[in-house]
């Protein structure tokens, strides 16, 4: 059974028409021991089917260690949202509920390649000289 209802799929398909450039969902998972591993992969497959600009690559976390290391993925399920460039956006876990909205937002922003931050914020970020890793703990509700 599909995770996205027909109506959801219709609405998402419409939103994804705004995708400017191709976006790839790079997904790392494993067959066993993941509570929502199967659902996460299924959801991404359904999502990727809703736009020609969206593609999905699936890697086995345990077997594709080189790719996991290249993307600095250290836990699963993991989903990298990238365009031609990897701008450092990752989702760990099943992006359901409000997190699904955030996933769509990230897809569209990555596709545009525009953060839409204020001019002031952009200026402040230009002065940054060292790497920052943000881990935001969220819940689907």
């Amino acid at each position: 059974m599909a995770l996205l209802s027909e109506q959801d799929a219709r609405e998402i398909r419409q939103q994804l028409q705004a995708l400017a450039n191709p976006v790839t969902l790079v997904h790392f998972t494993q067959e066993l021991g993941l509570e929502y591993g199967r659902e996460t992969k299924l959801l991404l497959e359904e999502l990727a089917g809703l736009s020609d600009k969206l593609s999905l690559e699936v890697y086995n976390f345990l077997l594709d260690k080189d790719n996991a290391a290249a993307y600095r993925v250290d836990k699963v399920p993991a989903t990298v949202i990238r365009s031609a460039k990897d701008c450092g956006i990752r989702f760990y876990g099943l992006p359901s509920g409000y997190e699904f909205v955030n996933l769509l937002d990230a897809l569209l922003a990555v596709s545009r390649g525009d953060s839409e931050l204020s001019e002031t914020s952009r200026e402040k970020l230009k002065a940054l000289s060292q790497p920052i890793h943000l881990e935001v703990f969220v819940s689907p509700t």
Binding site: R90, Y92, N102, L117, H133, L134, E135
Partner: protein
Amino acid sequence: MRLAHRLAIESDLITADAIEAAEFPELAEFYGVSAVPTTVINGTPTIRGALPEEAFLEQVLRSVIAATESDAETALSRASRR
């Protein structure tokens, strides 16, 4: 979450992970996450709750400066002990 990802798009030096707390309970516990959203910056839980853009960025940048200063202090106190 949206803001963290936007910062990552804007700056090549920033990476942003959204982590489902319930699916990674050990990591959430390690960081002492008791409510969501909680933002961990370079390994230090820093922002609890959601903030508007300006305040969020301020916290992110301040935490980096604080870390640099504490490194400098450590280096200084090491040097003065010599």
